[in-house]
């Protein structure tokens, strides 16, 4: 059951009704049952896995709280982290490594005892594993007390709006919310619906439409020229944002309707003027998780190396980010590229800031626009490694792009027109949000007629321009 399936559109309103009918104290039980139902609906076996991770995390966090010494806490924390990383490692990376060794040894005619493994990745495993690790570390650092009620822990790790593709939430934000008495608030529900509506717009009208073009070009790299590949790569960044950002909005909106506040996952990333700023606006939940649990401890440990300690921490953090995204070499390269971008920015930070202040560039519109464009191009360039199916394809894309000849790009009539319309509307809204947040209000307009007309307009656009029949979100295999 994905957010864009009709099953979900039927399931969710019913759940919301049952949820609010349930007396306040027991509402979390309704959510827990619904979350497991949602997950079992995808594949029953995977529900066992998340309950296993839940059980382990619950037991160890309780033990950590009872442990007297800091080293005792640390040891228990490490054990739990290793335990819950095992399934993630096994499902995500073992098959790739095993098959890699298999083909390598095969080319030397050496036998490798294990057969080729084809494993189906349990949906959401990367997300709830990270959430569980975060919770364990927080308890060990005494940031939060371990939760006595295993049901609440289970709900935290299986909460259905988050389980498929995040945002990656924190225990200290979610656990208290699950325990408190939530009163029905129609203003919140309306807000949640509006978020979902816009999320569906982003996903169905913008992302999936652009995806048709990107899939056509990347699906047959050999046939397409450099110009088409440049266009497709840049479009892929937009598609990824609209897909993942839209999905996050639907998740956040869904939670909001249930009275639960979930963190923002994207903040108009294409208005970033540097890669560092970009990573404060893109997949915020992942980056802040990595910052808190990987980057900060690392950069702190190596702070005596000053800027080089920071560079090291950045590279490791983004290497982990790359690996988290996928098990292939391309993802590792992608992670290292991102790390390099940020390291270069960190290393040149002082000089750049001086230059910018000296020429008063930060106030110049052309400079801001140029910075946004450069950032976008850099990100799109790195995303070639995210989109190409393997290293060979990625390198072929680059060699075609830098062949120096400009061709007429691959054209696809309606797809490009509809993509352009959708993308423009999205960008206009984001521009308004970034620079004129209280003006030109539509969904938030005081006039009920304008509000309703804008809802109708967006619903119409979704039904008319939306692409249906494709139900896979890009971040789904994580």
């Amino acid at each position: 059951m994905v957010f864009t399936s009709l099953n979900f559109l039927l399931f969710f309103p019913l759940l919301a009704i049952v949820y609010y009918i349930t007396p306040g104290k027991f509402r979390w039980i309704t959510l827990l049952v619904a979350s497991y139902f949602f997950y079992i609906n995808i594949k029953p076996a995977f529900a066992l896995l998340v309950s296993g991770v839940t059980l382990s995390t619950y037991i160890f966090t309780r033990l950590i709280d009872k442990a007297g010494t800091e080293s005792g806490k640390k040891t228990l924390m490490v054990i739990n982290i290793v335990l819950i990383l095992l399934p993630l490692f096994f499902f995500k990376y073992f098959a790739v490594i095993n098959n890699g060794i298999l083909s390598l040894l095969d080319s030397y005619k050496v036998r490798w005892p294990l057969p080729e493994i084809k494993l189906l990745l349990p949906v959401g495993i990367s997300f709830y594993t990270f959430m569980a690790i975060g919770y364990t570390v927080d308890v060990s650092n005494e940031e939060i007390k371990s939760e006595k009620n295993i049901g609440i822990v289970a709900l935290f790790l299986s909460f259905f709006p988050l389980i498929l593709s995040g945002p990656i939430e924190r225990a200290n934000n979610m656990l208290p919310q699950f325990k408190k008495q939530i009163n029905i608030d129609f203003a919140l529900i309306t807000q949640g619906v509006k978020l979902m509506l816009w999320g569906y717009f982003m996903k169905l009208v913008v992302a999936d439409r652009i995806g048709i073009y990107v899939d056509a070009v990347y699906g047959n790299i050999g046939q397409h020229n450099g110009t088409s590949l440049v266009l497709a790569s840049m479009l892929y960044s937009i598609q990824l944002y609209a897909d993942f950002g839209g999905y996050s909005l639907i998740a956040i909106g869904t939670a909001k309707i249930l009275g639960i506040d979930v963190m923002q996952n994207f903040k108009r990333p294409f208005f970033a003027t540097s890669m560092s700023e970009f990573w404060r606006r893109w997949h915020i939940s992942l980056i802040s998780w990595l910052t808190d649990y990987v980057y900060t401890p690392l950069s702190f440990t190596f702070r005596r190396f000053n800027i080089w300690g920071i560079v090291f921490a950045i590279m490791i953090t983004f290497l982990i980010s790359g690996i988290w995204h996928g098990a292939g070499l391309t993802f590792i390269i992608w992670g290292l590229i991102q790390g390099s971008f940020l390291s270069i920015e960190a290393l040149t930070n002082k000089r750049r800031t001086l230059f910018q202040t000296k020429h008063n560039l930060n106030k110049r519109i052309w400079y801001i626009v140029l910075s946004c464009i450069v950032t976008f191009v850099l990100f799109s360039a790195s995303m070639v490694f995210g989109r190409a199916k393997d290293l060979n394809d990625a390198l072929m894309v680059y060699s075609k792009i830098f062949s120096g000849i400009i061709h007429i790009p691959y054209r696809d009539g309606y797809t490009m027109l509809y993509s352009f319309i959708g993308f423009t509307i999205l960008m206009l809204k984001e521009f308004r949000d970034e620079y004129y947040p209280d003006h030109f209000l539509l969904f938030e307009n005081k006039n009920v007629i304008i509000r309703w007309l804008s809802y109708y307009a967006v619903i119409f656009m979704i039904l008319y321009f939306g692409v249906f029949g494709q139900e896979k979100f890009i971040y789904f295999q994580y």
């Binding site: 029905i184 699906g219 109708y456 321009f465 939306g466 249906f468 029949g469």
Partner: protein, 311 residues
């Protein structure tokens, strides 16, 4: 709470009205066969042209023939009434204008799940049998057909319902998708279009794999697989040579020959040499369509090169 529910209900009114209209008009005959003659004609004018996949798939479910036709706008010309007139053969025409090979494969796989097919007339050509012609328009329509909610909520149903309603009320003729060209301009336009496809030609390994699987299934289930290479005007045939695709064209016909019977009309002959036989270099006219039907249906070879699948 009452205020909220009331507002929600008022907000939903346009949607409820729209859905009611869609159920009443039922542009694609999803809910029932439809007996109103005038309405049926409007549906053919509007709904069929808006989404031929959805229309034809639903129609096939209601009146399935064991002989089907797959392909693009040219095979679409070989309709069931012409077949009825010429050879009395009962066919269901599932060819779609602009359809790709992927469309045809998806349609075949979908209907063969539920229906018994005995014979397939499959229109193929070099520019559709290409690794760059992968577009799939069939799947979204198949998804719509499978779910009545999707049927009510998709843009084809509601735009068709609205247009049909408007046409019924104002009695105006709605002409969708008429090309805004003169005959000479359209001639060149079609030439350019197909040239673009040929220019991007690549050998479709995947299509051959899929077709081989289908041919295997046909052999098992004793289904007759007949490929038809429709005639195109020599102006267009010259393009194959222009783009250095003679070898590929030969291989394409050999591939087809290895999978089923082939009626190849596409070479310089008395049909293809004459401009009068064509509306544009790609589309033959009505009388030629009848000739083709006669030939493939009665198997009296006159104009085509026929190869039979070796047993």
């Amino acid at each position: 709470m009452i205020k909220f529910t009331l507002r929600l209900l008022i907000f939903s009114i346009p949607f409820l009205v729209l859905i009611a209209l869609e159920i009443y008009i039922d542009p694609f005959n999803y809910f029932s066969e439809g007996k109103n003659e005038v309405l049926l004609k409007k549906k053919e004018e509007i709904a069929l042209k808006t989404n031929p996949y959805l229309y034809k798939l639903i129609e096939y479910d209601r009146n399935p023939c064991s002989t089907i036709i797959l392909g693009d706008s040219r095979m679409d010309e070989l309709n069931s009434s012409k077949f009825e007139n010429i050879s009395k053969e009962k066919v269901s025409n599932l060819a779609i204008g602009g359809g790709t090979m992927q469309d045809a494969i998806n349609i075949l796989n979908f209907i063969s799940d539920k229906h018994d097919i005995k014979k397939i007339y499959w229109g193929v050509s070099l520019e559709t049998y290409s690794g760059t012609r992968l577009r799939d328009r069939a799947t979204p329509s198949i998804e719509i057909k499978k779910s009545f909610l999707l049927y009510l909520l998709n843009r084809y149903t509601f735009s068709s319902a609205i247009l049909i309603c408007r046409s019924m009320i104002t009695h105006e003729q709605i002409d969708l998708y008429k090309p805004p060209f003169s005959k000479e301009d359209f001639w060149q336009n079609q030439l350019d279009l197909v040239s673009r496809y040929l220019a991007n030609y690549s050998y479709p390994g995947n299509y051959f794999k899929d077709l081989k699987k289908i041919a295997g299934t046909c052999k098992e289930k004793d289904i007759k697989l007949v490929f038809v290479v429709c005639p195109t005007h020599v102006d267009l045939q010259k393009k194959i040579h222009e783009f250095n695709l003679d070898e590929q064209d030969k291989n394409f016909k050999i591939d087809m020959g290895s999978l089923g019977d082939v009626y190849d009309f596409n070479f310089p002959n008395v049909i293809t040499n004459d401009k009068n036989n064509f509306n544009d270099p790609f589309h033959f006219n009505d009388s030629i369509s009848r000739i083709i039907i006669r030939e493939i249906s009665t198997q009296k070879i006159q104009y085509s090169k026929f190869t039979s699948l070796a047993k």
